[in-house]
Amino acid sequence: MTALVEVNNLFKVFGGVNAVEGVSFAVDAGQVYSVIGPNGAGKTTLFNLITGLYTPTGGDVKLNGESIAKLEPSRLAERGMCRTFQQMQICMNMTAIENVMLGRHLTLKSNLLTTLFRLPALTRGEQAAHAKSAELMAFVGCGEYINAEASAMPYGALKRLEIARALAAEPKIILLDEPAAGLNAVETTALEALIRKIAEQGITVMLVEHDMKLVMNISDRLLVLNYGRVLAEGSPEQIRANPDVIAAYLGG
């Protein structure tokens, strides 16, 4: 069986600095796979490389056995990959549910003619997208904001809204970049439950996260980065016992 995501000897150089240096790993379908490491280890850079926001300096990324290293982010969404951001990317000029409906973009086949004359096919598609998006907002736990403007929503709810938008695209794999950052303990617990629910639906989850308790609880496998290199890879138990990881984190 080939892995869902396969990263091979990946490099990214920023003006002479190796942000990501020879990273290789594989994520199987259905896993919760976390990437951890100290600040500046290259975790977000790695996510940006996988999701097409950056083009790798060297190496390759494969999704379902197909190389995706040079594809635009919008092409990756077509192939079932979606993500959220550490610096939230919400369209503040739209309502909450419109942000989620944006995630339905690829499933809504619309042409200019049906749009300009608002033919029945368009209204039907829009109603279905609205219903599905409302359902997803309830699923991630921000259902009470259905009619709210995105700009009027609290931070925690926006983080969930971003996950709902990614799920609306019906991805095979979702990449969450620090979903727990800025959340309080209660919200983090709820987030953990949400990630489990997403994984139960058969969606592969990749996670960059600093909250060790959360990561150790829900991950099937972990990748530890330090200075852009792989420090360790393995199950939570293996990582916990790895002396290199302990040294990197405790500065020993």
Partner: protein, 335 residues
């Protein structure tokens, strides 16, 4: 019933239709009709520009160029080649759409000031060509444009027509025609905005990264809206040329481009009815301030600056906001 109307998706269009059709009850002077017709046609172009600027967040400082191209294409084809006005308008709109697509592909990769500069240059190039192709365009002196005609039936501001047994003057006929064109323009624009395509356009404004990771091909949508807004400008330019009966390269000029963008900003970026109000205000202003004509550009500049500083959302959205707050306050006082 009234509350339901306020929820209606096209309430702005209904309101606009009321205004358009009620206006002839209050004016009868040919000069006023002429002014109202001119405003309606320019407002149509502004509605198109707003799709690009207000909704998709891409600036164009050369939009008069497309307006001018549409105007001159119609003028030349009907004037020099005896085309009928409708095919000239349609072929012109398609041609301008293609030009906008070809020009838009490379320049829409630019962002912010760089995009402004590129669109500015496009506008200048078009104006320079219109100024220099004397044989075709009459150069800076301008050229006459034949009356608008549909299947051999001519619409001229100086004609006399009868509609449903009513005698109407050419001025009124042109005004009603321009009003209906504006209503159609608004209806199409509103349909575009309330759709997946419209959502994709607004997401380009809101967060291009977010749009791209859910599968929106942002380059494609930017080009699309650039073409649509150029086609709007071209159609309105062609009608404007036929209505005026005489055009000069000023219709494609820099000052007119700035005027168009000022209308969008003043009225309210992203508010279809708002930008029409912007067009009305900025077209009427010179009439009121006829004595200060030399200062017109300065005044527009000042209006643009003050709007950006004190009501960046524009006239209509700001007014709506103030009203909503007042209503909330008085509701709070009642409780």
């Amino acid at each position: 019933m009234i509350a339901k109307l306020f929820e209606f998706r096209l309430k702005g269009l209904v309101f606009l239709a009321l205004v358009v059709f009620a206006l002839p009850l209050f004016i009868s002077n040919p000069f006023h009709y002429s002014l109202a017709t001119q405003i309606a046609l320019i407002a149509g172009a502004v509605v198109g520009l707003n799709l690009l600027v207000g909704f998709a967040g891409q600036i164009s400082l050369g939009h008069a160029g497309f307006f001018g191209l549409g105007a001159y294409f119609s003028a030349i084809m009907t004037g020099h080649y005896d085309w009928s006005a409708v095919p000239a308008l349609i072929v012109g709109a398609i041609g301008v759409g293609i030009i906008a697509w070809v020009v838009g592909r490379p320049i829409l990769r630019l962002k912010g000031h760089y995009l402004s500069m590129a669109t500015l240059a496009v506008g200048f190039i078009i104006a320079i060509i219109l100024n220099n192709e004397r044989e075709m365009t009459g150069g800076p002196d301008g050229m006459p444009v034949p009356a608008f005609d549909v299947f051999g039936w001519e619409l001229s501001p100086f004609g006399q027509y009868s509609l449903f047994g009513l005698d109407i003057s050419g001025d009124l006929a042109w005004y009603l025609f321009a009003g209906v064109v504006l209503l159609v323009a608004v209806w199409l624009a509103q349909n575009l905005i309330d759709s997946p395509i419209g959502r994709a356009l607004r997401s380009v404004h809101g967060s291009e990264v977010a749009a791209s990771v859910v599968g929106v091909n942002t380059t494609k949508y930017k080009s699309l809206v650039f073409v649509i807004s150029a086609v709007y400008a071209s159609v309105m330019g062609a009608l404007y040329a036929h209505f005026q009966g005489f055009i000069t390269p000023a219709v494609a000029g820099f000052e007119f481009s700035i005027l168009l963008i000022t209308m969008v900003v003043l009225g309210g970026m992203g508010s279809t009815i708002g930008v029409i109000i912007g067009a009305v205000v900025l077209e009427l202003l010179p009439q009121v301030l006829a004595d200060f004509q030399e200062f017109e550009m300065m005044l527009f500049g000042l209006i643009l600056m003050l709007t950006m500083i004190f009501m960046p959302k524009g006239l209509l959205p700001t007014a709506a906001n103030v009203l909503a707050k007042r209503r909330a306050k008085s509701a709070g006082a009642d409780a």
